[in-house]
């Protein structure tokens, strides 16, 4: 389940982009997300989107996954598509009964969709199938505070385990005739399941804390595989950053 949603654990199925040091990939993601968030021009954003699709082609999150995530995105943006054209004001494009669709609203909604899609593709494209601990290490090298990363490490490590445990408890409850209903009885049952999950996590966190202590944990991160910042990384970053700068400069010169 977790590989499907993008939480990768082992270095087993690597793809091309995984060979690029994750530190450089994080910087590149920042550049593109920042660019997409800042630009408000359709042509610039389309160019940015095309640039982000390039690494996506090399790292293969899979067309199915990209479409799925874009589908979720569109669902999330749907209220904007419904409301903005109705309220926008300006030139009318179409009318249906008392509802009028305005051009400015349609434009605003499509701008929104374009920006959000660009950011989505930027992240998906750079992600590859790098296991999460390499990302954490890269963030550490990029000066993200160690305590925050320690928190993240434990969250990611125990997420699959807690999810399995809670599924087991839910199955056990269903086997005893529990059915989630929209009344106080159903809510109490669900609250008890959620509460039991929290309690178990709490006790586990105490035990893990002791195990950490027993193995001499000092809060440092280690990465065993060698990562070298070489020519490939330099090329990657330069081309990525260069493309973004080029787009921004072109837009401001032309417009």
């Amino acid at each position: 389940m977790h590989d499907h949603i993008g939480l990768h654990h082992g270095p087993e199925h690597e793809v091309a982009i995984d060979r690029i040091d994750p530190r450089f990939r994080i910087v590149s993601i920042f550049i593109w997300v920042g660019t997409a968030a800042w630009l408000n021009n359709f042509y610039a954003l389309s160019a940015a989107l095309l640039c982000c699709i390039l690494p996506a082609a090399f790292s293969g999150p899979g067309l199915k996954r990209v479409l799925e995530r874009t589908g979720y995105l569109t669902l999330a943006v749907m209220p904007a598509w419904l409301l903005l054209p109705l309220m926008g004001g300006g030139i009318e494009v179409a009318a249906a009964g008392p509802f009028k669709l305005h051009a400015s609203g349609l434009l605003a909604a499509s701008l929104l969709q374009l920006k959000a899609s660009t950011i989505l593709i930027a992240v998906l494209g750079h992600q590859g199938r790098t296991p999460w601990n390499r990302w954490v290490w890269a963030a550490h090298k990029l000066l993200v505070p160690a305590r925050l990363l320690a928190l993240l490490t434990f969250t990611l490590r125990y997420l699959p385990l807690l999810s399995e445990e809670s599924k087991r408890t839910y199955t056990a409850a269903v086997a005893r005739g529990f059915h989630a209903r929209a009344n106080l009885k159903g809510y109490r049952g669900l609250a008890a399941l959620a509460g039991a999950g929290l309690v178990r996590s709490y006790y586990r966190s105490e035990r893990v804390g002791r195990a950490l202590s027993a193995r001499g944990y000092q809060g440092r991160f280690f990465l065993l595989r060698d990562t070298r910042a070489g020519a490939a990384e330099a090329f990657f970053l330069l081309s990525s950053g260069g493309a973004a700068v080029a787009i921004i400069v072109l837009i401001y010169w032309i417009i």
Partner: protein, 459 residues
């Protein structure tokens, strides 16, 4: 209640990240190493708990349960919620990545505050009922008002509940629910404070969501009204979520208090942090205010002059104006030069102006009735032909369209329309519905008591 990518302008995203970073750093300051493991695992647990679907008649909701984060973790809820939102955005696609900072503020500040309220309330041993009632009232009053405003702005009804009437309706509904719980159910102080904390957290988050969409710089300024409308509907649809979350947090907190009370007292909230949280929150609208755009239109010798200025006193270097007629059709547009733009109308209508100076800043306003009157007089003196044309234009009689335009933003016309009657009838049915709910809940209470008796026998 997550703002997705692409809605806010770049400056708002950056401001959000800066404020969020500050809160995360403040939250991590007192943390020891043992805390890292514990908080990390609990964050995973809260993340999963937020995926549980609670059924509602006809649908189901994901609860936020951020308030539980605030209650259990105190100031560590800031990094915890930040990471939970990061994972949601990366793994599940909920929310946005550029807007992560802003979303984190919307979720975590109310969560932290409700945690503080919960602990202080329980510690002082004060009865939670007044707070419970106030929370309910706030939610329902705002919900009632926003529901009618949202429907009004969408053109579906022709009136808005004024604040006093919203207070009456909302207060009445809150009162009924309050009475049901006060005298119909057995609840102890943990339940009551738990409900208040849970409901308050979602309530504040919804209010912040509304404020951000109303005041923060947007990527496309023309979308402002649309987003404010969206925020209104979002608030109204969240009212049942607020109530459900209140109930669920009350039940959860009771469970945890019985089984593992230490879990609820892990972190002592720091009062200084509350002050910091508030001030960071205020940062956002102030940064927008600094660029607030002022604009006005006045009539001079039969032409309309639109003047634009910014709060700092300077004149925007570029920008454009779009003029709309009373039916919303575009009449003219132009570029602002040196803060001014002139427009020569060939008829006197109640124009609306959209001023856009880029980066989501701008202003929308209507021509003032006095100015319209001046325009009418000026055009009349310019030639009766022009005035005739205006009178018989397909848009209808000037005065009538002016009234309709004005009425859209002012007090309701005398005499109810059919849509209005329908809405009022629905609200009335709602009250009757609440009374029936009260009666039904009394039966439910008997069911719950029987269940408890059976469980006690088993134990």
């Amino acid at each position: 209640m997550h703002i997705s990518d692409g809605i806010l302008a770049g400056s708002a995203c950056v401001a959000g990240y800066v404020a969020a970073g500050g809160l995360v750093a403040a939250g991590l300051r007192g943390a020891s190493q043992a805390d890292s493991a514990r908080t990390g695992i609990l964050t995973a647990a809260f993340f999963l708990a937020g995926l549980v679907r609670f059924p509602l008649p006809g649908t189901s909701v994901h609860l936020l349960l951020a308030s539980l984060n605030g209650i259990a973790l105190g100031s560590l809820c800031f990094p915890s919620i930040f990471l939970a939102l990061l994972l949601q955005a990366l793994l599940l696609g909920h929310g946005g990545i550029s807007t992560l900072g802003v979303n984190m503020l919307i979720m975590s500040v109310p969560a932290y505050l409700s945690g503080v309220i919960f602990h202080k309330g329980l510690k002082r041993g004060v009865s939670g009922w007044p707070f419970f009632f106030m929370t309910l009232t706030g939610v329902l009053v705002l919900g009632a008002r926003l529901l009618t405003v949202a429907l009004f702005e969408a053109g579906l009804v022709n009136f808005k509940l004024s604040w006093p009437s919203a207070a009456v309706w909302g207060g009445a509904m809150a009162g009924i629910i309050f009475l049901v719980f006060r005298f119909g159910k057995k609840a102890d102080s943990v339940h009551i404070w738990g409900f208040s904390a849970g409901a308050l957290s979602v309530f504040f988050s919804a209010v912040l969501f509304y404020l951000v969409l109303s005041f923060a710089p947007l990527a496309a300024h023309a979308a402002r009204e649309g987003f404010v409308e969206l925020a209104r509907f979002a608030f109204v649809f969240h009212v049942p979520v607020i109530l459900v979350e209140g109930i669920v947090v009350a039940l959860l907190v009771r469970y945890l208090d019985t089984v593992t009370p230490e879990l609820l007292r892990l972190q002592k909230p720091a009062v200084a942090l509350v002050v910091m949280a508030f001030s960071l929150l205020l940062l956002m609208p102030f940064s927008v205010k600094a660029h607030a755009v002022g604009a006005d239109a006045y009539v001079e010798e039969g032409q309309i002059i639109v003047e634009v200025w910014t709060d700092g006193g300077d004149v925007p270097s570029s920008g454009r104006v779009i003029v709309l007629g009373p039916e919303g059709e575009e009449v003219a547009r132009g570029e602002i030069k040196a803060g001014k733009w002139t427009f020569r109308p060939d008829s006197a209508k109640s124009f609306r102006f959209i001023v856009d100076i880029g980066h989501g800043h701008g202003k929308t306003f209507s021509l003032h009735p006095d100015e319209l009157h001046k325009l009418n007089k000026a055009l009349a003196s310019q030639g009766p032909a022009k005035q005739e044309e205006a009178r018989t234009s397909p848009a209808g009689n000037d005065m009538a369209s002016q009234e309709r335009g004005a009425a859209k933003h002012e007090s309701p016309r005398p005499g109810p329309s059919s849509a209005e009657t329908l809405t009022r009838a629905l609200l009335g049915l709602l009250v009757i519905g609440m009374v029936c709910a009260f009666l039904m809940l009394r039966n439910l209470r008997r069911e719950v008591d029987e269940l408890k008796k059976r469980l006690d026998k088993d134990a």
